[in-house]
């Protein structure tokens, strides 16, 4: 048994864990610049994590084992999900055998645990965040499944490394499918990471709170683990979008130079996508909660149109 898949998995995991806080901070910086503020320094994400890990955790006396285990479980699940999505290097044998539906349901698992954590807090805000997050995830799920089905249809396979490998072999063509897929995946990133116009990730106010409400009662290292999980989830979804549409630079045979180059290219592409995310966030206002399903219907229209364009053309 060769060690290459193991090594590839480790490299992938380390790289994603390292750059995720950077992408989050880039988005915050772009939004701050749009508001004519200076914004945080680029390494602020790492400083925040370091600070939070040093603080103590406070549990309420009625909190159950969910509050204690959910942060670790959430990061562990996302680490396994990272093994399924090769970011800079596609080895011949994948470190973990899984397909895109396994990836989708691993993300659903993290969301499930987070929702239970929100309810465990016993406060109204936690319940509200929990209820809204699960409701919105239910409405976006058909769109997500259809988008993933389109990706599988275009690549001819369900396994994510194979999809990326297929994407490297074709010229990023000017087909309507690629355009629609890009838009659908972008909307998916916004929804799954809870950004404007679905939710505002920077405030904890009742009007704008879906994701943050569930984290209100966590503190210290638990909060650090959740912040890291959120950042890793965003990076994984961005990797899906980038590697399906502009995969140049991703390597299939290992070499130190190739790895460094691929890492730098991904950093560049990821930063560009984060800047785009920040610009989109600054251009819209957060939608009223019951108007968000309309946005999701539009996203579903896009994904259905993608299938139709594949069928009809």
């Amino acid at each position: 048994m060769s060690l290459t898949p193991f090594f590839a998995g480790l490299v992938n995991l380390g790289f994603v864990l390292l750059i995720s806080p950077l992408f989050m901070t880039v988005v915050k910086k772009v939004k701050a610049r749009a508001q004519r503020r200076a914004g945080p320094p680029l390494l602020q994400g790492y400083y925040n994590l370091a600070k939070l890990f040093r603080k103590e955790v406070v549990y309420s006396d009625y909190a159950s084992f969910i509050s204690r285990i959910a942060p670790y479980a959430s990061l562990a699940i996302l680490m396994v999900a990272t093994l399924l999505v090769p970011v800079i290097w596609i080895p011949d044998a994948a470190p973990a055998e899984g397909n895109i539906i396994v990836f989708l349901y691993l993300l659903a698992f993290t969301r499930f645990l987070l929702a239970l954590l929100g309810l465990d807090a016993g406060s109204t805000f936690g319940g509200m965040g929990s209820s809204r997050e699960m409701s919105l995830s239910a409405v976006i799920e058909p769109t997500t499944v259809v988008v993933f089905a389109v990706m599988a249809y275009v690549a001819g396979t369900l396994s994510i490394p194979e999809m990326f490998r297929h994407a490297t072999t074709i010229i990023p063509g000017m087909s309507p499918t690629a355009l629609l897929l890009a838009v659908s995946l972008f909307i998916l990133i916004i929804v799954e990471t809870g950004r404007v116009p679905v939710d505002n990730p920077e405030t904890h106010l009742e009007l704008t709170m879906i994701h943050e409400g569930m984290l209100l009662d966590t503190s210290g290292r638990n909060l650090a683990l959740f912040e890291l999980s959120h950042a890793v989830k965003q990076t994984l979804l961005m990797a899906l979008l980038i590697n399906m549409l502009i995969p140049f630079g991703i390597i299939q045979e290992v070499s130190i130079v190739g790895l460094v180059l691929a890492a730098l290219l991904f950093l560049l592409k990821g930063t560009a996508l984060s800047v785009l995310l920040g610009i989109v966030e600054s251009s819209f206002a957060k939608m009223r909660f019951f108007r968000v399903p309309n946005l999701f219907m539009l996203a579903f229209f896009f994904s259905a149109l993608t299938i139709l364009s594949e069928v009809m053309i």
Binding site: G173, M174, S175, P176, L179, L180, P293, N294, M297, L298, F300, F301, F302, A304, L305, L308, S309, V311, M312, I313
Partner: protein, 230 residues
């Protein structure tokens, strides 16, 4: 998917963008964005006409593109914006028969239905030139989505824009399937202008101009002095 040339790919992208703009027309509630979407849709139509003209080497298509640009991208939206400033309505909130989500689902089913029926009727076009087949389907779908906009929205302005988008659909269908002589295009354009004028008349009253209308409102103390001057 087989390798296709650059211009047919661009054409396909434009056709899909037309459908997306029609979907936005069905769901948006803000009147100014409605007019902007219609202007965008006509602009995409201009691009389609130019690309088709380049493929088919027909100059008449370029002329049609020019006329569409002048009338539908610049003229009519400006006209409607002027009316809108006078009437001061910002939003169109009520939907009848179909909520925006349901309208989108129905339009997907309609596109499918049109595809199925046309693939039975126009066999030869399917095999011969799939691009033209796609264009004809999207033209008819655009027409149907314009009809949905007409019956499901409340305000007259929105209905007018729905009708205009129907005309866009007819134009698109004509570009791809038939030989569209110049005269027909001219007639359609006059049609449109009459419609827009009718709308103005409906809003301000049969017997008056916009000035008299404003005077009446001033008389009933519905508008203050400065707004009337503006």
């Amino acid at each position: 998917m087989t390798e296709i040339g650059v211009i047919p790919s661009l054409l396909r992208i434009c056709l899909i963008l037309v459908l997306i703009s029609a979907a936005c027309l069905l769901t948006t509630r803000n009147l100014s964005s409605l007019v902007r979407t219609y202007a965008l849709q006509s602009l995409i139509l201009v691009a389609i006409a130019i690309l088709l003209g380049v493929i088919e080497q027909k100059n008449i298509l370029l002329l049609i593109a020019g006329i569409t640009l002048a009338s539908k991208v610049i003229g009519i939206p400006w006209f409607i914006t002027v009316i809108q400033k006078r009437i001061r309505i910002q939003q169109d909130l009520k939907f009848s028969y179909l909520q925006p989500g349901g309208a989108l689902v129905v339009s997907i089913l309609l596109i499918l239905l049109v595809y199925l029926c046309f693939s039975r009727v126009l066999h030869d076009l399917v095999t011969q030139n799939s691009l033209f087949f796609l264009g004809s389907i999207i033209g008819v779908s655009l027409m149907l989505m314009g009809l949905i906009a007409i019956f499901s929205r409340q305000l007259a302005i929105t209905k007018v824009i729905g009708y205009l988008s129907m005309e866009n659909g007819v134009l698109l269908f004509g570009l791809f399937v038939t030989e569209l002589p110049f005269i027909t295009e001219f007639v359609i354009m006059v049609d449109l202008i009459i419609l827009v004028l009718l709308t103005t008349i409906l809003t301000v009253g049969m017997d008056s101009s916009i000035d008299a209308y404003m005077n009446r409102l001033k008389e009933f103390h519905l508008w203050s002095e400065e707004e009337v001057q503006a």
